[in-house]
């Protein structure tokens, strides 16, 4: 049941230059197992064009407190790889939004890399982001991802050299994930991001030429997104979304609060 046209490629081909692609990161199984599918559909309705669905891991060493928390809650909720595939399958009954599974290699390896890629492809997953697989270690997964129509997205960071950016661009599929600041994931104060980001962005523009460029890490508002993504194809928000869920769940109407926040990220400053 492998798709003929990759949804990520289509998204960037058809994108209107006047607006930025908004990708949202959501931890599967957070805040509870039942809400994930509804959240994805609601995020799409409110402006998300790409979903990065987090596969929780007990030891997320590149993540800050927010995603550590959501991962722990999801694991306590009993999240499994099979449940994640089922969630994607449910979304696919109602939506064609591109879905990328994002998470550390250990749970994938434990599941079996070949089996994981096959079942992810069958469920309707479009791509993978595995932050602890740098290009040097990619041989264990590349062929299986390719065979199942999964775009393997790589990251570049502010300390990635020009030459290495070009190597990563050559190997990345779907887009290149540009990490705007060194450090772990998490929402940051605007000026902290702004200070170092300009030089990085100009190097990214120069060296990432074959793939669309998505920028992430530290974005928490419409203004942040517009400023940081000005020269990019789009932006990624993760921790700020999880923080918003955490703030409102499980009060009545919590999803509406979350969707309102997402809407504001994409469309206005309020």
């Amino acid at each position: 049941m492998i798709k003929t046209q990759n949804r990520i490629a289509t998204l960037f081909e058809e994108r209107d230059d006047s607006s930025k692609v908004m990708s949202l990161f959501l931890t599967a199984g957070y805040p509870d197992l039942e809400s994930t599918v509804d959240l994805i559909l609601g995020l799409e309705e409110n402006g998300a064009e790409l979903i990065e669905l987090g596969m929780p891991f007990s030891d997320p060493l590149a993540d800050g407190p927010t995603i550590q928390h959501s991962s722990n809650v999801a694991i306590e909720n009993g999240i499994t790889m099979n449940a994640i595939f089922e969630m994607v399958g449910e979304v696919r009954k109602q939506s064609e939004i591109p879905i990328i599974l994002m998470g550390y290699i250990n749970p994938v390896m434990r599941y079996g890399i070949e089996r994981f890629c096959k079942e992810a492809g069958e469920a309707g997953v479009d791509g993978l982001i595995i932050p602890d697989i740098p290009i040097e270690e990619s041989q264990i997964i590349t062929d299986h991802a390719d065979d199942n129509g999964l775009s393997l997205v790589y990251l570049v960071a502010p300390n990635t050299s020009d030459e290495r950016m070009r190597q990563i661009d050559a190997q990345s599929k779907g887009f290149v994930y540009c990490v705007s600041v060194t450090g772990v994931t998490g929402a940051r104060e605007g000026d902290e991001v702004a200070r170092s980001v300009q030089r990085f962005i100009s190097r990214v523009k120069e060296n990432i030429t074959q793939n669309p460029k998505m920028v992430g890490f530290g974005i928490k508002s419409y203004d942040d997104a517009q400023r940081i993504a000005a020269d990019m194809d789009g932006f990624i928000v993760g921790s700020a979304l999880i923080d918003t869920i955490r703030e409102h769940y499980p009060a009545e109407g919590w999803k509406d609060e979350v969707f309102a926040f997402v809407h504001s990220l994409k469309y206005d400053k309020s």
Partner: protein, 394 residues
């Protein structure tokens, strides 16, 4: 030497590698270059050896354990006395080596993780000696269990940061140290305390400890005119074991045993017997055996010895297990306590609880040996730090 691992990309057989976020790749490359260059540089080696000699107290003695030998009535038993090192364990060899490298690289902020506190104390000591800022990450639960070592680190001028995430033990302290590292890559050097982590750490830490095996080889040649028949060492992450094993890997007549912590038993869920019951996986940057559940979530390890209480193992040990070169056996908490008593009563040496795991294996090994053979046991640390636990369990 025929044994020439790791490969250039950091693999020991199918284990090892660099499974880290992109931010750390340039840092590891820089570290690898700096280490390889330093290790070839005579002036670096001279400074390292001078400190080991005049500050750490090397070479440590190789003591003939006459009463222990009589007790079993078989092979001669020698003890490699790493317990006599400054700070009380082998850990300081590596801390000194890495801090010299950090200085050479112009990094003036040192971070480290610690479980029982021994590596933290060794790092804090080295930082005090060089007047360098030192931050040690330690699980909140471990800080409670190892109060004395926390006080030692603070007295030495280190900042001990309590880690409240996850299980609040060594693996979480390591996560937090890595998070600090990715945030402060420019000026920070991460001194990893065992032969774990991404390449080049397993190789580098092993090489900073190989002096244990090199000295053993020379000292035993002097005492007995030969190589040992058996080497015994405890294994948590595996640094003292790699240190004594490595110079003997090509000497096929030397049988090597790594004793890991089985906790309440390798068939219970209260264990740290990674090589006995673990499955391959990636934790803290390298591929090795791990304790994890069927979803790949890391399981909590258990051992009476905080230094062995880790759900992973150095990738070189994983390779040496698969290749059959080293035999790994689990020793329970109870057996380790017997090891503490045995060595204390017969040799006047109170071993660290970690070391006691290796001591207890003599019960199993010695009846199979003969009088013309020689056993060397790496006495990796002294037991002063464990007196609280020991007196509770005697």
């Amino acid at each position: 030497m025929n044994y020439d691992l790791p490969t250039k990309s950091g693999y020991f057989g199918r284990f090892g590698g660099k499974f880290v976020p992109e931010i750390l790749m340039p840092v590891l490359e820089e570290l690898e270059e700096a280490y390889d260059e330093a290790w070839q540089d005579e002036s670096f080696r001279d400074e390292y050896l001078d400190l080991l000699h005049n500050y750490v107290g090397r070479p440590t003695k190789l003591t003939f354990a006459n009463r222990l030998t009589e007790h079993y009535g078989r092979a001669k038993i020698y003890l490699k006395r790493e317990d006599l090192c400054h700070t009380g364990a082998h850990k300081i060899n590596n801390a000194i080596g890495q801090i010299l490298l950090a200085r050479r690289m112009g990094k003036d902020r040192i971070i480290a993780e610690t479980g029982a506190g021994q590596h933290g104390v060794a790092t804090a000591t080295a930082c005090a000696k060089f007047g360098v800022e030192c931050i040690v990450y330690m699980g909140a639960e471990d800080m409670e269990r190892q109060k004395l070592n926390v006080e030692r680190m603070r007295l030495l001028g280190a900042e001990v940061r309590s880690v409240e995430s996850g299980s609040q033990t060594l693996k979480d302290a390591t996560n937090e140290a890595i998070r600090d590292w990715v945030t402060n890559v420019e000026d920070t050097f991460y001194i990893i305390g065992s032969v774990v982590g991404p390449h080049p750490y397993p190789k580098m830490v092993r090489n900073f400890h190989r002096i244990i095996g090199d000295e053993t080889k020379n000292q035993l040649t002097e005492a007995e005119g030969r190589n040992p028949d058996y080497l015994l060492a405890c294994v948590g992450g595996g640094s003292n074991a790699m240190g004594i094993f490595y110079p003997f890997v090509d000497d096929e007549s030397v049988k090597m045993y790594g004793l890991e912590a089985a906790g309440l038993g390798a068939d219970t869920d209260q264990t740290a017997a990674t090589l006995t019951i673990g499955e391959p996986g990636v934790l803290h940057g390298s591929l090795s055996y791990l304790l994890h559940d069927k979803e790949g979530q890391i399981q909590l390890a258990h051992s009476i010895s905080a230094g062995l209480d880790y759900p992973g193992i150095g990738p070189e040990h994983a390779h040496l297990k698969d290749s059959g070169r080293v035999t790994y056996v689990g020793i329970t908490d109870k057996q380790a306590m017997e090891g503490v008593k045995l060595l204390s009563e017969l040799e006047g040496i109170i071993p660290a609880l970690e070391t006691a795991h290796a001591v207890n294996y003599l019960d199993e090994l010695m009846p199979k040996t003969s009088k013309d053979e020689v056993v060397v046991l790496n006495c990796s640390g002294r037991g002063d730090k464990d007196m609280g636990t020991i007196s509770k369990n005697l």
